[in-house]
Amino acid sequence: MLPLEPELASYATFASALLDPAGATPAVVTGPAGKGGDKRYNVYRNNVTVSLINELAAVYPAVQRITGVEFFRAMARFHVRATPPSSPLLFEYGRDFPAFIETYEYARDLPWLADVARIERAWLDAYHAAEAEPLSVDALASFPPEWLADAVFMAHPATRIVRSAFSAVTIFAANRSEAAVGPIDAGTPEDALIARPEADVIVRHLPEGGAVFLQALVSGQSLGEAAASALQASPAFDIATNIAGMIEAGAFTTVSAGAA
């Protein structure tokens, strides 16, 4: 390997200790008139770590409210140092954070915390998703009924589905509002639909079988196939309620005759 040009090497040296609190201040930089560089270099180190922790706090406000600020910032600091961003688009940062929370030993007492984080990550993706006109009630009503079983739907760019073995939707909703949070039974499985019917992102607690149904539709299966899968997963699945819910949430943009 060719040696780096000296001034290229100095960038690498400068960067080397930015995420390493134990690293020495790089020798390529100095304070004025022979002054020490440690506290000066720490300004950069601090800017990097603190600003990225702040980014995670902005993406995951419910997680921070649940854990408390001090716990959250300690957890986020571990994650920032182990997995710094690779893109300058910070609204893309923190995709690995829910999986990190799942393995974080101090969060083991909060087994539902990672799923709350997954809903928050989906919320931000829905927030930045492309604009599209949601499918209207009228458009669906005017679709020929004899073709409905074979109909396929195009998902709105904002539509996300998050499934949880815990009461993640209730916990999410309680901790994204200003109101005080009362006791919540965390053990009821809940699925979320995250969508953006108009300007604002909404999060809906899906009825039984709803997640299987919507996931099938999003993946391009026909209405008939999706309903069959949902019924198989949950005998209580009610197709009329679920269709009304998905239209109201603006989860899809078009309906068309399927290939069959």
Binding site: E5, P6, E7, L8, S10, Y11, A12, F14, A15, L18, L19, V28, V29, T30, G31, P32, A33, K35, G36, G37, D38, K39, R40, Y41, V43, Y44, N47, V48, S51, L52, E55, P84, P85, S86, S87, P88, L89, L90, F91, A126, Y127, H128, A129, A130, E131, P157, A158, R196, A199, D200, V201
Partner: protein, 303 residues
């Protein structure tokens, strides 16, 4: 060829937004939480500056807000993470996103930083310093030419605030910036708070730096607040924190610079501990008063 055919051939798509004048105006950072208060007031004298990266998503509330804002006001598009001062080639995808925003929102001003933030696929989310020498000058100029070729207009390059210097630098910052403008034709965004912060941190005179600065190339001025810490020797170390009002000493330097440069568009930056809209608006009004006083004095001098 008759006139109708000719005008048909020459017709380009009309601009989607009005081309507002920005000369002589003060403005402020746009923060999403101020949107409702700003829209309630309707069209105001002044402009807003946005960080380009916050509008690089596909759609949603950020774009709706910026469209609403741009309908009634001139906008300054301020890039934060192009890494123009970095050792690696510019990120082509990022440059394409930047260009798309310039095309979509037709900003009155477009700026970026003399700094770097990405190294070997890690994005550090900070404006990091670079050595000033022939090799870095040449690379920074290549990067600026690439940006200007993409956006079809001159870029304003912002002077940094720094806490450390590279021992291998062979020229001063003002000389480095001057040579960049000569080689690339770019303009400069003079951040007077950055000058004050760096001057304190490196022990030089802010006023002397400003008098050495290529003032003829300045197309925008930034003012912001800073915070105080201490260095290893216990001496004052200023932090470019953008979390409070502009310091009195920075206002004084600003008045001197406006006296020399004329009413250059001026922005109040406030990015952390963000106050209510009325506070930020009052800070911008204070800058506007300095700009207006210059115009009044210039008229009296001419009369």
């Amino acid at each position: 060829m008759n006139a109708a055919v000719l005008s048909g051939l020459l017709a380009t798509e009309p601009p989607r937004f009005p081309a507002y004048q920005i000369h002589g105006l003060a403005g402020s950072s746009f923060k999403h939480e101020h949107l409702a208060a700003i829209l309630d007031e309707g069209r105001q004298r002044g402009f807003f500056e946005v960080h380009a990266e916050n509008y690089m998503g596909a759609g949603g509330p950020p774009h709706r807000a910026l469209e609403a804002l741009r309908r009634d006001h001139p906008i300054s598009l301020h890039g934060v993470c192009m890494s123009i001062g970095g050792p690696e080639p510019l990120d082509k995808a990022h440059l394409a996103r930047f260009r798309a925003l310039v095309e979509r929102y037709e900003p009155a001003l477009v700026s970026e930083h003399l700094a770097w933030s990405t190294h070997q696929s890690t994005y550090f989310n900070d404006l990091l310093p670079l050595p000033y020498n022939a090799a870095t000058l040449s690379r920074v100029c290549d990067h600026i030419n690439q940006v200007q070729d993409a956006i079809w207009r001159p870029l304003l390059l912002e002077n940094p605030s720094t806490y450390l210097a590279f021992s291998e630098s062979t020229m001063g910052e003002t000389e480095f910036l001057l040579r960049i403008t000569e080689r690339t034709g770019c303009g400069l965004l003079l951040d007077i708070n950055n000058v004050f912060v760096s001057a304190t941190n490196h022990g030089f005179s802010a006023l002397k730096y400003l008098l050495d600065f290529p003032l003829a190339r300045v197309g925008e001025i930034h003012l912001a607040g800073h915070a105080e810490q201490t260095d290893d020797e216990g001496d004052l170390l200023l932090i470019d924190s953008h979390d409070g009002p502009v310091a009195d000493a920075v206002w004084k330097l600003y008045e001197i610079i406006i006296g020399r440069c004329g009413p250059v568009p001026t922005l109040i930056e406030w990015d952390s501990n963000i106050p209510g809209w009325s506070v930020l608006k009052a800070e911008a009004a204070a800058a506007q008063a300095v700009l207006d006083r210059y115009r009044r004095d210039a008229r009296h001098a001419a009369a």
